[in-house]
């Protein structure tokens, strides 16, 4: 009887993310991954039936990890400004602590698995976010606007700051380090823009 080893599985997952980040989806194979993880190909095939299976499972798991982190301490009934503040803190923490996950998602976003991975993340995430936004509009805390406009104002500024941070530079190569001050300053402007 072959058994699963959670530790090994964790190592394999970490190595797979590293390889996808460094070499892209086309660049990595089951054989290369087995070698990098220090497990035999046979062991790898116990966990996953092939490369596609691995990519899909990895994407679903990372997606779940991301949405769980984002929803920590959050509930859709919070006042809008408070809820968004928690969202920003959660998202900033996750993406700053998992810079590789970001590149990995970028790769997966362009893969054939996109829809399946998306479906698994969407599960309750979209529902909770939707409820939060709807309630804020009803309470007059948020201007009505298309969801794309909302997202672009509410979250894209944060992701851009994180991108600057990960690259270590902002415009024209100016050195940049993310800080709570910078985040709060940006969030205050975002809240101002979203207010009716």
């Amino acid at each position: 009887m072959r058994t699963r080893d959670e530790n090994k599985e964790q190592i394999v997952r970490q190595k797979a993310i590293e390889m996808i980040v460094q070499e892209g989806l086309d660049g990595f194979s089951m054989q290369k991954l087995a070698k990098a993880s220090g497990v035999s190909p046979a062991t790898l095939y116990i966990y996953y039936k092939d490369k596609d299976d691995l990519i899909l499972k990895l994407g679903v798991e990372e997606g779940k990890r991301m949405s769980d982190a984002t929803l920590q301490g959050f509930n859709p009934d919070l006042p809008f400004a408070e809820g968004l503040r928690i969202q920003w803190h959660n998202r900033a923490r996750f993406w700053l602590e998992n810079p590789q996950a970001n590149y990995c998602f970028e790769q997966l976003r362009h893969s054939a698995h996109r829809d399946k991975i998306h479906a698994s993340i969407q599960d309750n995430f979209a529902e909770i976010m939707g409820k939060f936004v709807k309630k804020a509009i009803q309470n007059g805390e948020l201007s009505p606007m298309p969801i794309e406009v909302y997202w672009s104002i509410a979250f894209a500024p944060l992701y851009n700051l994180i991108r600057f941070h990960n690259e270590g530079r902002s415009m024209g190569g100016k050195p940049f380090i993310f800080s709570e001050d910078i985040m709060n300053q940006t969030l205050a402007l975002v809240l101002k823009a979203l207010k009716p």
Partner: protein
């Protein structure tokens, strides 16, 4: 994450089932065995790994079956 620590028996083989066509040739033999829950061949892999989820089949039984189908098959060792 799968929290199951043990799942039914998984058997892993190195084969020369290289193409979709090869897979079609071998499919009737494997599909006919009710004790196989699921089988897959990774044709992309250099070992053309055959993976079998089964409750009670032995490695020897699978090897014999695949060889009867005209392909090579050996246990892929750890």
């Amino acid at each position: 994450m799968n929290t199951q620590s043990t799942i039914y028996n998984i058997l892993i083989f190195k084969t020369n089932i290289k193409t979709e066509e090869d897979k079609h040739k071998i499919a009737p033999l494997l599909d006919a065995l009710l004790s196989i829950r699921r089988w897959t061949v990774d044709c992309e892999d250099c070992d053309c790994v055959l993976r079998i989820e089964s409750d009670n089949l032995t490695e020897d039984e699978i090897i014999k079956l695949i060889q009867q189908g005209g392909f090579t098959c050996e246990v892929l060792n750890d």
